[in-house]
Subunit: 518 residues, 2 copies
């Protein structure tokens, strides 16, 4: 059966004769133009070294690998049709903290394997801003770029081997990352993306020659780099939209990605509206003294314990607790509020704390895990400062959601789906987030965790040339709404700083305790 | 005055703001798309390293250098508008024997300088066939490619310096050569172009990155390589057509390029018909014992001397004679015929030779220059064998002209112009060529020598993006006529083997001597 779909085409153009002396390349290109019904088919000139021999050996029965760059198809691989087809694609999630790579069989679309590794740029700094400032120093950008490219090459080699192929079999790479990571990946100066008016060097890198950015995949392979629509709305989010399917639904839905920034996209198949705002760092590791990224021993879930009327902690991999991550903190805050440990302003009510409250430097701390029971032999606590920070974050989140939905005139309660992206989205318990008024009070079935939607979108880009068109369509369709921190925004923010909200009617499902201070 | 024409555009896109945060690259591309009214503008990604700084330094007033590859514009250079514009183009005639390069100021279209050098591949072999067989040997192709590329790089550097620029200022190269030379230039295997059914690797290389083929012009520069329409009809001839303007005339004209092959193009702005055939080697150097390429001391013109009733020889640079080139041989043969030294079959009439005929190995030789007067102290002679060879060549030439014009139904006498290309075309005296029946008996004013039409066409390609379109139009418009050596052809050939022809009515201007044998 002749394969003629996706990136791989099997063709048998008519062989040349004295009556038809068209050149080897032009013969293939003319045939493909006709087959694909397109105007422009180009070829990587490097393929011309082996092309004549392959054509004659295979008796003009060949397999061709193409990519589609805007309106132009480009031939990047040619092999005899009767040879087994080994052609892989590589999806890359260029995370600030973690890089995830996934190998895809381009012929079947099936996942061959996956691997992740810490972003080697953490050697320069854990947060992106430190890295961007470092990039300004002499040789800094090159160093950051080498770290990510070398890290990728090593891990691509390892993953390929473990999947029984070599990196030479990888023909298409698709990479999604935030705008800053994309700049560092492409060795582009990020200087202006963090300075007013915040201009990226490029919005739509499209397909690049992998070798031109140092990737050691097939010498003719191409990298598709997801477009961004500005410094604060990167390719990882475009990938997320593609993965969620938001761009294809009839009903309006919302996609939220929470990190240091809360990035929000609202829309349907006809329109997309995006905004991003500082959600506060409370939900990321490193802010509360005990807060950290999700990892073994980290408390990610907290349930009320009906037996003890206290709480039951869940740690990742069931290890002895070493800290608390964002989702655990939200669960805890919800429990605190629902069991009247804190009031509607998020302040501890000492009489309700069953002796678990202690003062350190004059600040109230709630002992979540005693020193005896913690891995570090030091009590894990949540302080009033931590809670205040969480309240600001959850208020910011809710305010952003309210602002964007109000802006387009779609009430939060009318949303058909509520997608939560990222690791945070996978761990978070929407019931807890609703209880503290961070997320709107929607029926549970509307909430959907997407997992690594950046990697998911990057994978989809590998599955068909149509995805690339869809990605560019998404990019061009998004209206970016600049968040104006005006009086209206501040009023909303102030109202959202209560648990769940100054207006409890917005959260009918939350059973507000009588002694919450209301 | 803003320059906005040709390859160089001066633009001032609106600077970014918080309200317009489009990326640097996308800002320029969007602006150019609008200005040029085109769908696709791409950029060489290497330019992105310096782009942000150039934009901000120049306050968004920039000069851009573009090439146009099919329907796609490609940015290959960016500089501040207030810097002086140094942007050169390089036209290259990839001759088998001689390489000629010419520097053009891309802004004004003016020639800056020109240089020529012997094709370094002559080290492998003087003729193209020897080189093509050598290319089949291990490492042979690479060696031939290095010879031409290294030779070009050295001479480009020298010529640039002599013109007060550096090779770094060269942004566009256009190269025209026959199909074999084009393959060796691009490091492409020429194996199949000399084997039935004679298939080139590529017909239309279009624009390539100069660095990808080893040229040391600007790192972002592109090379336009003239297309061929087969092994026997190369880019040099397409360049010749462009240079002649054949493709733009209302009336039908003809273009002839004579070497080992006679290449003929007939047509007008509506259609082009081409054919090529072996014209015999008599017109090139190396065949007659004394025959050679044009060069100092070579007899290139022969006039009847009214004083002595003998002949007056002209040598190139007025040096002591060392040999005879094709045009000299034709003049000589015409003189021989018109003064009854030879008969209509081209055979010497001993009684008419005034004692200048001598026998060497039983073969008649006519002493053109005595041993005393020649540079080599050896008599320069024309033998009966030389004359027989010339007769076959001239007969082949005329037969080809007759065949192609008959094929399209345009009598030779109806041609509006008769262009003769190449060095041969510059030296040849059409009156002599008519006298021996090599070229048709047209009024002198219809004959036009084009000189180096390959270089001329390559130069025109640098003058405007429209030329590139015209070149591709020419390539697509040519109908190639395979010369069928059938009975009809052989009949014509036999008739043309007489001087000027068996049918003297075709050559009314030639005063046929009474004792010509007719």
């Amino acid at each position: 059966m002749a394969k003629f779909s996706g990136w791989i085409k099997e063709i048998t153009p008519p062989p040349p004769s004295l009556q038809d002396n068209t050149g080897d390349v032009d013969r293939i290109i003319d045939f493909l133009k006709h087959k694909l019904d397109v105007d422009t088919v180009d070829i990587d000139m490097g393929l011309l070294k082996t092309l004549p021999t392959i054509l004659r050996k295979s008796k003009y029965s060949i397999r061709i690998i193409l990519v589609k760059d805007n309106s132009r198809w480009l031939i990047i691989g040619i092999m005899p049709k009767d040879e087994p087809c080994v052609a892989a694609g590589l999806a890359v999630d260029l995370g600030t903290t973690m890089i995830v790579i996934r190998l895809i069989d381009l012929l079947t679309g099936k996942t061959m394997g996956e691997a992740s590794f810490l972003n080697p740029q953490r050697l320069v700094g854990p947060d992106i801003l430190t890295r961007l400032h470092f990039a300004d120093s002499n040789g800094g950008l090159e160093q950051l770029n080498r770290l990510i490219i070398d890290g990728l090459n090593q891990n691509i080699k390892k993953l390929s081997l473990s999947c029984g192929i070599t990196e030479n079999d990888i023909y298409i790479v698709s990479a999604a990352g935030n705008t800053a990571m994309t700049h560092l990946f492409l060795d582009l100066d990020p200087h202006w993306i963090i300075r007013e008016p915040y201009i990226p060097v490029i919005n739509s890198p499209n397909f690049l020659k992998a070798s031109s950015i140092g990737l050691m995949t097939n010498i003719f392979s191409r990298v598709f780099v997801f477009p961004n629509i500005g410094s604060y709305f990167g390719g990882d989010l475009i990938a997320g939209i593609l993965f969620s399917g938001l761009n294809k639904t009839d009903e309006t839905a919302i996609l939220v990605d929470v990190g240091t920034n809360a990035e929000v996209v609202l829309g349907n198949k006809n329109w997309l509206m995006a905004c991003a705002g500082a959600a506060g760092p409370a939900l990321e590791g490193g802010v509360t003294k005990m807060g950290m990224m999700a990892g073994p021993g980290v408390i990610d879930k907290v349930h009320p314990d009906p037996l003890t009327h206290g709480i039951k902690l869940h740690t990742i991999d069931d290890k002895t607790p070493i800290g608390i991550c964002g989702s655990g903190l939200i669960d805890l805050a919800a429990y605190f509020f629902l069991s009247s440990v804190i009031d509607m302003r998020g302040k501890f009510i000492p009489s309700q704390c069953s002796g678990k409250l202690t003062k350190i430097d004059e600040i109230n701390h709630f002992i979540v895990v005693s020193a005896d029971e913690s891995a570090g032999r030091e009590a894990l606590t949540i302080s009033q400062v931590d809670l205040d920070s969480l309240i600001r974050s959850k208020a910011a989140m809710f305010t952003i959601l309210e602002t964007i939905t109000t802006h387009v005139g779609v009430p939060l309660t009318d949303l058909a789906k509520f997608y939560v992206a990222g690791t945070f989205g996978s761990f978070i318990n929407p019931e807890s987030a609703i209880a503290i008024g961070m997320l709107p009070d929607l029926p549970m079935e509307k909430y959907k965790a997407l997992g690594n939607s950046s990697l998911g979108g990057a994978t989809m880009a590998l599955l068909s040339p149509d995805s690339i068109e869809e990605i560019n369509r998404i990019k061009n369709n998004i209206t970016y709404m600049e968040l104006n921190v005006n009086q209206e925004f501040m009023n909303r923010f102030s109202a959202a700083k209560f648990i769940p909200h100054t207006d409890p009617l917005r959260f009918p499902s939350v059973k507000i305790p009588v002694n919450s201070g209301r």
